[in-house]
Symmetry: C2
Subunit: 137 residues, 2 copies
DNA sequence: TAGACTTACTTGTGCCCGCAATGATAGAGG
DNA sequence: CCTCTATCATTGCGGGCACAAGTAAGTCTA
C-alpha cells in the first residue's frame, strides 16, 4: 500500500501533471497505441486499467476533448464505440512516454537489482486477479 | 498497480463497506489503537497513512461523527489536537479488525508461501520512501 | 417472432482526496 | 520584547472514480 502511494504520487507529479494528464490517461493511451489499429473497446480498457465502465467513459471524454483520442462506432456491433488514438495522440504519447517510463524504470533501478525486479514482478503476478492482462508499466 | 487495485477493491468491498468504513478509516483506527494512550497527532497520521493533512482532517471528521474517535487538545502545544480512540472505537476495531486482517492474510496466503510473503515485503521495502514507518497491513 | 436475458455504454450522484491559501501557535534571533 | 520562520491544522475548490440506474443493442429460447 505504501509502495503504491509513493510511486503513484511521484510519477503523477513529475511527468504527467505538467502535461495535464493523469496516470490512467497515460495508461489508456499506452494500451491504445499497442492495440490493433490503435483502437480498443470501452470494455477492454475497463479490464486493462482496472476501472469501472463509468470511469472509462469520463476518462475518454477528457482525452477526446484534448484531441488525443477519437470515437469510431463499430459497424458489426452498434453497441460498441471504438476509442482510437489520433495522430495527435500518437505524438503526445511519444513525447511523454519516454520520460515516463524512464522515470519509472529509474525508480526501480535505483532501489532494486535486475534480478530483484524480476522476483518482484513474479511475486505480484501470483496474487489473485493480477496474473492476466499485460501491464503498461 | 494492478495488484494494488485488486487487493484494495477486494478488501474494501468485503469487509469495510458494510460497516460504512473505508480502508483509510480502518488503518487510522489501527494506528491509533497501537499508539501510546490510543492517541496520535494529525501529522503522525499523515505520515502513516500517506495522505495529505487535508485528507486526514476530513477522515477524522467522519470518524468523530461516527463516535469512534474524539479530539483532545494538547496542553503543551496548542497547535496540536490529539485524535484519540473512544471506547466505541476500540470495540468497533475489535469487531472489524479480525475479519479484515484475516481476509488480508488469506488473500496472500492463498497465493504465496510464507517465504514469498517475506521476500515481497523486503523487496517493496527497498523502494524509495517506503522503508520507514510501520504498516498496519 | 415475441419475450427474456445479456452485453456495451452513459448519466446522476456522491465520496475521497489532493492542492493552494489561510489561520494559529511555537521557537529562534536580533 | 518583537519580528521571522517553521510547524500543525483547517477550509474552499476541483478532479477522479465508484455505485446505481437507465438506454440501446445483440442473443437465446420457445
Amino acid at each position: 500500500m505504501r509502495a503504491h502511494s509513493v510511486l503513484r504520487r511521484e510519477l503523477d507529479a513529475e511527468v504527467l501533471r505538467p502535461r495535464g494528464l493523469t496516470i490512467n490517461d497515460f495508461e489508456a493511451l499506452m494500451h491504445l497505441s499497442r492495440a490493433h489499429e490503435q483502437r480498443l473497446r470501452r470494455v477492454d480498457l475497463v479490464e486493462r486499467l482496472m476501472l469501472t465502465p463509468s470511469g472509462i467513459t469520463r476518462l475518454l471524454e477528457g482525452l477526446e476533448e484534448a484531441g488525443l483520442v477519437e470515437n469510431v462506432h463499430c459497424e458489426s456491433d452498434a453497441r460498441v464505440t471504438w476509442a482510437r488514438l489520433t495522430e495527435n495522440g500518437v505524438e503526445t504519447l511519444e513525447c511523454v512516454g519516454a520520460s515516463h517510463t524512464a522515470r519509472l524504470r529509474g525508480l526501480f533501478r535505483d532501489a532494486l537489482s535486475e534480478d530483484e525486479v524480476e522476483q518482484l514482478s513474479e511475486l505480484l503476478g501470483k496474487l489473485p486477479g493480477v496474473g492476466q492482462g499485460s501491464c503498461a508499466a
